[in-house]
Structure formats: structure tokens, C-alpha cells
Symmetry: C2
Subunit: 307 residues, 2 copies
Amino acid sequence: MNVAVLSGGVGGARFVRGVVDVVEPRAVTVVGNVGDDLEVLGMHVSPDLDSVLYALAGLSDEQRGWGRADETWHALGTVAALGGETWFLLGDRDLGVHLVRTQALRSGDPLSAVTARLAAQLGVEATLLPATDDCLRTWIATAAGELPFQEWFVARAARDEVDGVRFEGADEATAAPRVLESLAAADVILLAPSNPYVSVGPILAVAEIRDALARRRVPCVAVSPLIGGRAVKGPADRMLGRLAGGTSPAHVAGCYAGLIDALVVDERDAHDLAGLGDVRPIVTRTLMRDADARRALADAALGTVHA
Amino acid sequence: MNVAVLSGGVGGARFVRGVVDVVEPRAVTVVGNVGDDLEVLGMHVSPDLDSVLYALAGLSDEQRGWGRADETWHALGTVAALGGETWFLLGDRDLGVHLVRTQALRSGDPLSAVTARLAAQLGVEATLLPATDDCLRTWIATAAGELPFQEWFVARAARDEVDGVRFEGADEATAAPRVLESLAAADVILLAPSNPYVSVGPILAVAEIRDALARRRVPCVAVSPLIGGRAVKGPADRMLGRLAGGTSPAHVAGCYAGLIDALVVDERDAHDLAGLGDVRPIVTRTLMRDADARRALADAALGTVHA
């Protein structure tokens, strides 16, 4: 069974880890968000791709929830001592990835080729693809003005309420090599429990990818990132409340109108399934506390086709 | 008393540390070699400037002889795992300097301005200047062809005998801001115990600097890097033997013909002072085992003007 997963960073990465635990990893393709990518200290950083990469390679820091296990911060300590750019936290082990990727990108390699090489070197068997090799960047409209994603998310700790989201470069962006082929070859397409606006949204902003989902001949199952109407972490609930008018499963499904056949929702949202229309609810426990919970959630999402 | 020191990396950096121990640091200007500069993993690295910077800031690893104390190597470990460029060893704490410097250079700052800022941030009171802000690079002619300095020195461990040294860009290079002013204001000019060909040589390859030394009105004192005709570390003795025909004090002084008034030589070379001509020998112990030895060597070199 071939599985394609559209995924953002941390929560999506955890889910992807569950998917490769219940499906042959070589049959899994992850299409990752690049709208969060940024330049830090002169390096190209792809935070969401790296979260998935580290999860798939077993290198994630499970406690902290982002970055690498057993991380140190000596380079950033020097940068701080020198009055340099420290708002975006980069650990020493993490830095090695950014250095190698940046050097490869500067030499002209597309992001997809670099990502494939990094994944292969780390022994990752699943396929990890950026949504696009083109420059697609997420901007957040707030009362303080339109902000680059990471300035809003990290530098300002996502405290500004979001009035809108714009994907710079989306109109010209084409899907990275193998993305459309992977979606066409998939027996099921999953949307990870990531923020619909700023994690899955930038992937769907690539018209070729959105069209592929709209024209799908296989089930597409989204996993809600909300539990009891609240985000486990991050601003997804506030954004849904403000931009969609609520945080019920129907509001989540509305973000994917015409693109999904089922929505995995938490037991705590089972009382509130009105308005889902054609979208079939799959009720289960969705909090990914540990490896067992990750696998159970992946199984629930894949249930449609497992059966 | 104003002191100007022309210095290469490790040995020179140790000597400079001794100089600021015996002279008011604010009265000391170090003019550093940039011929060894290179690009590693997309970053601009200035190994000799950094050796001096770390020595002056008290951050050097005294045991290893290069790089920073209390260093870790996690970023490079990741680079290695990813099949990246690891031939040039960059520690985590060291990396922070390269990141900040590279970002500043890319934004258009000249190397001298970046160097001044780094030194100030690290609390260095002496003035550290690159010989030039222009691109001046050392090439080494060998039987294996002409090699970039670091390829010969690090990647091939300086095992190829040297047939000649060339300084690419030297003809167009001008002295960095404040270099000529510092030499003009100096009460004494010192040439650190660095390799005359590849450490001090690239500094003197800047015509304005060489001319300033040739026209000096104050004493210029070189410190021989050889003890008993042998280099403490590195290929200086092999280079002198091959390119100058010997490793006596006169052969060292010959590298600085017309530019120096005195040469500090080790007691072990005191038997071999023939051929120095106008250059006055200053015999002392030159091995910089510890802080006391560094200070004693600086005092010996400065004796001319101390007296």
C-alpha cells in the first residue's frame, strides 16, 4: 500500500513517524511544507522538512518537541557573544544540516535533490519531498502589519492575531519532482495533524498539488490537529476561531473543502460532528503521547484502506 | 609605546599574547595574515586572524595549539554523517565566529570592519587588522601542481615540498584601513615568529605594507620561528632549507632583507650568527612554553626600545 502524507513540522513529523511504523517505510512519501523556510545567519533553514527528517531518522528531541536529541548550543553561544542573530534557535548538531544544505543549494542543486540526499545519508527509507523547489514563503497578516512567517511565529511568539495568510510565490510554484507521481501512485493520501493554514496550507497553495487532491481517485484522510477544540501546541485553534469562525471538526474540514473524504477527530470532539457533510468522521484518541499512540493514530487514519 | 606586530596564526598568536602582557594592550596593533583565508561549507574562514583573536581574547586551546578551548565538534559530526566537507576542522564554538563574519561580509562589510567588531565584542583591547580587505590568497607551487594554501597545508598535511609561493591578488591589494597609520605611529615594529614565506610573506606582499617597513624610522625586529634550525611546528624549516638554502639565522633574516634591524634567535642558534650583516642578533630562549616564556620573548624583542 502506497501512502502519501502532506505534513508540516512538529505534530506532522510525529504522525509521519507513526505512519512508517505501521506501513512499509519505502511505500511512504512525505510531502513537506517549505512556506516556513528562512535564511538564518546566512544559511537556508527548512524547519518543517528537518522536523520530518529528524523524526524519520530517529534523531528528534522528543521532550523538547523540536530539534535534535542530545543537542548542544555552543555555536549560538558564540553568535550571542558576538552580538549576532540569535532569535532563531539553531543547535550545533542541527547546524551541520543547514551548512550542508545551504552549500548544496548555492551550488545549484534544487531543494528536492538536497533533501533526498540528506535523507539517504541519515538512513531514512521513506521518501521526503519538499512541496516545491520554487521559493514559496508564508506571510501572516496581522494588526502589526504583514509579517514573514518566522518573524510572526518565532520572533513574536505567534502572539499577533492572524487576519490572513498569503503564500508568496505560490502562483508560479510547481510541484517538486516526484510529488505528483507520488500522489498519483498513492493508495491513500493523508493530511497530517498540522496547522491547516500555515503548515498544510502552503503545500496546497501549489496549484498542481491542490488539483491532484481535488481529482483524487483514492481516499484522502485528514487528521485534525485539535483536541477538544484546542491545539495541542501552537496557534491553530486561535487561527481557526478567527479565520473560520470556530474550532469544531466541521471548521477543520472546511479548510480542506473538496479535498478530503474523512477526518480523524479526537474522542473529545465526538459530540460536535455536525456540518461535516460528505466528510466521514473517524473518532479515536489523537494525542500522540508515545510511539504506541502515534501508531494507533496512523492506523485509525489508514483504517479506510486497511479494511 | 606603540607597537605594531605583523603576525601569522598559531605561533604568532602566542607571541602577540606575550606582547599585550608586557605593553599596554591599547597601544598594540596586530596586522594579520589573510593569505590563508578560505571558504569552508559556504563560510568565509580567516584562520590566522581567528588564532590571534582567540589568543587576545583568552579563548585559545593552549594544549591543541589551535582553535578554541572547551571546544565541541557536533556540527562537524553532522556534516560528516551527511557526507559533507570535513577536511577543515571547525568546532562548534568556532563556527559561531564564521557564521557571524560571513553574514557581515555578505552584507558588504569589509573584513577589517568585521574583525574590529568581533574583537570589540570579545573584549579585546588591542587592535586587530587584516593586512588587506582585498582578496589576497596564497598558492603553493609543488611537484603535484600549484595548490591553494589550505589544500597544501591541511588537506595534504604540508607533505609536498614547496617550490615557490605566490600571492594571488597581491598586485592589486591595498593595505586595510588603519594599517599604514598604525605602522607610521609605531615606536617599534615586530615580525612575529611565524613562517616567513606563508604567514608573514602574504602581509609583506601588500606593496604599501612592504614599503612602509622599508621606509621605517623606527626599529623593526623579527623573531625567528626556528629553534636549533628546526620549526617548533609546521614546515618553516623545510621551506627555508629548500627555498633559501639553509635554516640559519642569516637565512631567516634573508627573508626580510632590508626590512628588519634585529632578529631574535634562540640560544640554540647562537653559534651560527654569521651572515647577518646589518641585522643585530638578540639571543634568548624563544620557545613559548607558557605565559612567562611568552612575556620574556616579547620583552626580548622589545628590548631595543624598552632600553
